[in-house]
Each structure stands twice: as structure tokens, then as C-alpha cells.
Symmetry: C2
Subunit: 199 residues, 2 copies
């Protein structure tokens, strides 16, 4: 069985998104590309890191990461990523609203799970087989999995900015003990920190 | 004129202290030595880092870092650091309660400043001469200076733990742009990150 990983691009004050996320501003007010500049401007330098973010055998994400807004589904919405999402694997989307699975190009499927984070984990584990399962985000979903003790490895990509409000990693998670894995590394646009969650 | 620096030992979720700081628990409930283990257990390895924390020509700290509790002064209280505090320089303590200056062994003086952060900075600048001024803490004091744009260099010492509540660095500071200085480094007990505040 693989491990459960989680990659999060956050600000120095711990936010994965600003307030008021929307179709027009998927990362919320005042964020724009501030958290992800390294992915675009240093794509070559960090190609291995970027590849590892989508290397898992299955993914879990929150409804809020799959689609803007809440409530009933817009059946035309198939995610933010166009015809061929970067996952190339089964993705399980946590939601309160049932929906038929979607199959997109390149092996990405979206399955909508309405019975909670543990059910989604069981499905993702089965789909991944021996490979890792990745908790793809957003912060609220990651925090639920952290609080439940279900994440093994947390890979933080910390942008040298503060945002001041929004969706914050670790909110409501309480006290954790972690163990650094490898050495921290970085550039002017990002610091990469990897931790094993040991509590 | 030197620069204004700030060293902060924080948790991965950004807390410099837990809730309910007191005489018995100066770093608040549930914190103990979790943020500072590296200073004690890796004192030799990090002797240069530890020395640099008290290398400035003058220091500024909040009342809450100098003494437990609030309100009127206990005239017998001369700080947490015993007869010879590690500062060996003038320290300016922000407070609403006037008090005569204190002179301790080894060149540490505590001067109590009741007219605000900018007045304290002016006094510290004058006392430091060409040397740096260090904002020693706690988080609330650092946040005030960050919000006022008065800190040039932020040196974070991030312990691999989360605390879940208490005094948080960057609270109320809003959006900042920073620039990493040098490379991140660390051990199992701490990650050192240095930033220039550029906003």
C-alpha cells in the first residue's frame, strides 16, 4: 500500500487561497498568481517537483477545488483543467450533491463521493493499488484529513508572500508533531518543505 | 544606520506562543519547549544562529515578552532572564505603564517606553548607532512593526509542530511581499528561513 501525500502551495502566513473564491478568481481576492508563480516562471527548474504533485495513483479533492460555488451541480462543469486534466488517474471529489462520474481525456476520471472523507479514502486506496494517494486540496479538505490522522506526508510549497485572510492550512487541526524529510530547498519564488506527519 | 531585524521561533502553523501565557507557562498552554528544542538540543550546531539572535545593538520587545500578566508593574520583576540577560545592550519595552529604567549585569538595560512603537524605534535606533535594531517579540509586537513597514529582515525558525491556537505571527498584518535571503536550512528540530520584507 502506498502512502497518503499532500502537496500544498501556501503563503508564508499559511493561506492556500484568499477570501471570496469565485469563477473569476479561483484563488480568491488579492491572490492571483502570488502562490503559484514558481510553477509558471520556474517550470523547468522545478519540473520534477511539479511532476511529483500529480504522480499519485489516485487523488481526493474537495468540491470547492473541483468547481466554483456550492449547491446543485452545473452539469456542463467538468473542472478547471480543460479537456485533459493533469491527474491522469482517478480523482474522488467530496461533495454533498450526488453526480454521475465523469471521464476525461488522458485517464482522468472524476467520481463524486457523498459519504465522507473515510469513504473517499477507501475508494482512492483501492483505485491506487500499490501507488500513493494524494489529497489534492483545498485547505479545508486537507485539514479534515490531517485532523483525522490520514495524511502521511505533507509537502509544502511556501511562496514568500503573506495574504492576510482566506482558507488556511492547519485551521482547526490542533497540535501535530511532524518530522522534516530531506532538506528544505527553494528559490526567490518558493521554499519547498516536506514533513512526515508522526503524531 | 543598521537594519531592523526580527528573529521569531514559530510553529508550522505560525504560532509564537500558545494560549494562556503565564508565569508558570511563559509560552502558553501545550507549548513547553516545542518551539525551542533546537536551541537547547542543538545549541552547538546552531551556535552562530543563536548568537545572531542577540547580536543587535538595541532591542525592542512587548510588555508581554518582558513580564507575565498585564496591568501595574511588580517592581521586583526584572525579566525572565536572571541577573545577566543575553542581550548585553539597551532593550526598549513597550508598555502602557511607566517605570524607571533597569540596569542589569553585562550591559543590558531595560527602558520602558509608553508612547508607542515609533517612539521606541527612534530610541532604539539612537541607542544602536550603526548597529542593527532587533524586534525581539512577542508576536503582537512583531505584527505591529510589520504592519507599520518597519522591519527589514525577518528570520523565521520554524519548529516541525503545529500548536493550533495562541499568538500568531502575521495576524492582522495583511498582504506583504518578501524576498528570500540565502538558502533555507534546517535539521529535524527546526527550519531556518530568512526574508527581506520588500512590500
Amino acid at each position: 500500500m502506498g502512502k497518503v501525500t499532500c502537496d500544498m502551495a501556501i503563503s508564508l502566513d499559511g493561506f492556500a487561497a484568499g477570501p471570496n473564491q469565485s469563477l473569476e478568481r479561483p484563488f480568491g481576492d488579492g491572490v492571483g498568481d502570488r502562490l503559484h508563480r514558481w510553477m509558471f516562471e520556474e517550470a523547468e527548474r522545478y519540473s520534477a517537483v511539479i511532476e511529483s504533485i500529480t504522480a499519485a495513483g489516485a487523488f481526493i479533492m474537495g468540491r470547492n477545488m473541483f468547481a466554483p460555488g456550492r449547491g446543485a451541480w452545473d452539469p456542463d462543469w467538468t473542472g478547471w483543467w480543460g479537456e485533459e486534466p493533469p491527474y491522469h488517474a482517478p480523482v474522488f471529489v467530496l461533495t454533498h450533491h450526488p453526480r454521475e462520474p465523469l471521464t476525461l481525456k488522458g485517464g482522468t476520471t472524476f467520481t463524486f463521493v457523498t459519504d465522507g472523507i473515510e469513504a473517499a479514502m477507501a475508494q482512492a486506496r483501492e483505485a491506487a493499488g500499490e501507488s500513493d494517494v494524494s489529497i489534492a486540496g483545498g485547505a479545508q479538505t486537507v485539514n479534515q484529513y490531517l485532523a483525522a490522522g490520514l495524511i502521511d506526508e505533507l509537502r509544502l510549497h511556501v511562496a514568500p508572500v503573506t495574504i492576510g485572510g482566506g482558507e488556511r492550512l492547519f485551521d482547526g487541526v490542533g497540535a501535530l508533531a511532524l518530522e522534516p524529510v530531506g532538506s528544505p530547498s527553494g528559490s526567490d519564488l518558493v521554499t519547498h518543505l516536506t514533513y512526515r506527519v508522526t503524531r
